[in-house]
Amino acid sequence: MVDFYINLFSSIELIKSYQSSIFIISVLLAGIPIFGFMAVNALVAVYVERKVSAFMQDRLGPMGHGVGLHAGKWGVLQTLADAIKLLTKEDIIPESADKKLFLLAPCIIFIGSFVAFAGFPFNEFLIAADFNLGLFYILAMSSVGVIGIILAGYSSNNKWSLYGSMRSAAQIVSYEIPAALSLLPIVMLSGSLAFKDIVLAQTGSTLGILPNWFIFNNPFMIIAFWLFFIAGVAEVNRTPFDLPEAESELVAGWMTEYSGMRWAFFFLAEYANMFIVAGVATIGFLGGWLSPIPGYFDGSIWGVFWLVSKTSFLIFVMMWFRWTFPRLRTDQLMRMCWKFFLPGSFFVIIGVGLWDLIMR
């Protein structure tokens, strides 16, 4: 998008000579929609999460009584009201907190997921910064947020916060490794790190009717998909891997001392990270913006629709996990990562390599 805007503005005679302004405006024009998307994503995802949890527990969730001052029909305005409440709430900084770091931590967490979105494609054209290392870039950028989590826990000067951030850091740093390794088969099959080429390699159909997505490519890819998806759920600290927050043990983990706007930033980043994990799984294994019926309903607008709906389905699966599995213990979490996921991802890499060598 940045290149597109720069070319667009440079083609207009009147403003051609202001190169630096054009550059900055183009970057802003590509960046601001990302922020808008993150906000809308969080609003919708919180509502859906509450509704899904409610239905799974045989409740109704947020409800309203028609129009009026209530939360709208089926409570659709509930999260909007919550967002306004968060924005206008008092911003509390604990007296014994390390003030500078306390203020810096939400920024780092938010920026971590914001810059990851810069490389995330919604279809072959709709991507803020298009370059040929997309997958690797998103993996790297999603590891920046960990620093923010550690700082949030440390600067709060609260034991719950510190325990939460320690757990979170250990968890994210560990699960990053199987998550990255289980994405390697995609790179092996498509021969590229660019999202565009990865999706392009999945066009067409396989076995007659199935779309030629990487998850249908060979049996090992199904394992790789689940390895990545579960490791991704662990990376975004969601149940059953929500030890860092663990309401029943740690109050709210590393977010305990935060309130108002800063806490909203954590939430924004958390739902954005969920979207990124689900989105990378979609692009890598489920054909990205390609339609599930090969050859039909493909195109720019349809592409965005397919990508967002597949990603939303994976986010729904994450919510489903939340009400299905009990929380793991720390030692179980680490054993699962280092003794099952890590060897599992090596096994998958070798398996995919052999399969590709023999079957092709």
């Binding site: 630096s20 690797f136 870039y137 993996l139 620093i147 550690i150 700082l151 740093v173």
Partner: protein, 164 residues
């Protein structure tokens, strides 16, 4: 001054200022945090050299791995609620003198070297070239490095095992 130049100067100043804070700050955790900005700044400078792969690797390994370990180490080696972790900078005059000498020497070298100017065209697909070089021309050093890392990994596993 074009927009790119503006960003270059922003990143360069960010790198230098945060690098100075790393050295001069009395608070150990502040040093570690400013190291974050130094590392991000250096990654940005790599992008200006069209070394996009190195830039991302820098962030993945140094920010996502090593810096987390450093902060973890600081937090684990002190009391859990102790916010005032301090470090001292002794011999500031001597150190400053050495830094000045190195700075002047490097500046002299940079200004007096006839630099080879590469063409101003962005190289395509840096990662393919890196892959080819690693697997064809520099395969032996690559393998030796991987054996070294494997040895370190086994060593770490051995150390962390409870002694029986």
């Amino acid at each position: 001054m074009t927009g790119i130049n503006l960003i270059f100067w922003f990143i360069a100043i960010l790198t230098i200022v945060s690098g100075s804070i790393v050295v001069l700050s009395n608070n150990l955790i502040y040093s570690a945090v400013s190291l974050l900005f130094t590392l991000l700044g250096i990654a940005g400078l790599y992008v200006f050299l069209w070394a996009d792969f190195i830039a991302i690797t820098q962030i993945l390994i140094y920010v996502g791995g090593i810096l987390v370990l450093i902060i973890f180490g600081i937090m684990l080696t002190h009391r859990i609620t102790d916010v005032t972790l301090s470090q001292s900078s002794n011999q500031q005059i001597l150190g400053g003198g050495i830094v000045l000498v190195i700075f002047l020497g490097l500046s002299y070298m940079i200004l007096n070297t006839p630099w080879l100017e590469n063409s101003a065209v962005e190289p395509q697909e840096t990662i393919k070239q890196i892959g080819n070089l690693l697997m064809i021309d520099y395969l032996l050093p690559f393998e030796v490095a991987s054996i070294l890392l494997l040895a370190a990994l086994i060593g770490a596993a051995l150390l962390s095992r409870s002694s029986k």
